[in-house]
Symmetry: C2
Subunit: 152 residues, 2 copies
DNA sequence: AGTGAAAGATTATCGGA
DNA sequence: TCCGATAATCTTTCACT
């Protein structure tokens, strides 16, 4: 039993690219009256398929030219440690993603900073809050692809 | 010389969280008339600070429960290879991010798939299109943080 | 920078396939 | 149950002060 049909999928596809489309034009694109469109969007929002609508900013315009991936190994992987790590990453706005990986000893952080010095400050703040036995950073030289659009 | 002031920053902060705020409520939040707000947003869009507005979907609702990071090493890192790699990642919608990393031999891919089998299909399609000497995948067990919000 | 009015978009309700 | 049409409401846009 499918949760949504082709029309829903089409709507989602367009809204993932531009959430400012008017119901009018969206309706035309998917072949539905603006009203039918509206109802579908509402249920997609209510059922949580559409989480929210956000503005995406240009990192470079904000002086955040550098993306860094931080790989972390730890011995102490108890719940208390994870809790502290979780709180730390949540509260640090440069950190855009934090993941516990397979292997159960590895954590990965994705962050945006202005330069290597700025990364170093982030690093120091991080290790001050959470003990880590092994930390290594890899910097992004070229962003070949970066999207929020999920496959449908 | 700063490109924007505190009010701009406030506006951006809110729009990064919810781009559907009306000028009325946004104005109240930042302490500006709806109109002053509107003008600032327009320039922020024109100067490219605001890139676009998009809907964020729930991966799980779409059956995309698994995030995978794919690390790639290659001998042949000439322009032709990079071009092929770039085209391949651009055209594969499960791939959300692709990065050339420091070290000049390493590439990293961030992708969303439904399960490990689905990853395997992605992997096969990828190596069919681009030669790679060494590929390794790490799966995300727990998503501790994931945001599109940039620090201001 | 703020007001008010016109244009445009969104939401609620209703009748019909 | 889902669609489309119509009407009421709210938002955005813009000329003017």
């Amino acid at each position: 039993m499918e949760k949504f049909d082709n029309l829903d999928r089409k709507i989602l596809k367009y809204l993932q690219q531009d959430s400012d489309l008017s119901l009018e034009t969206l309706g035309e694109k998917v072949g539905l009256s603006r009203n039918a469109c509206w109802r579908r969007i509402k249920t997609l929002e209510e059922t949580g398929v559409i989480k929210k609508r956000v503005a995406l900013l240009a990192p470079n315009a904000l002086g955040l030219g550098l993306t860094v991936f931080i790989q972390i190994r730890t011995q102490s992987h108890d719940t208390a440690w994870l809790e502290k790590f979780s709180q730390a990453t949540q509260s640090m706005p440069e950190i855009l993603g934090a993941y516990r990986m397979t292997g159960d000893l590895d954590y990965l952080i994705r962050a945006r900073v202005s330069d290597v010095e700025d990364y170093d400050r982030l690093y120091r703040r991080l290790i001050k809050r959470v003990e880590m036995s092994d930390v290594s950073a890899s910097f992004v030289m070229e962003e070949i692809k970066e999207t929020t659009e999920l496959p449908l």
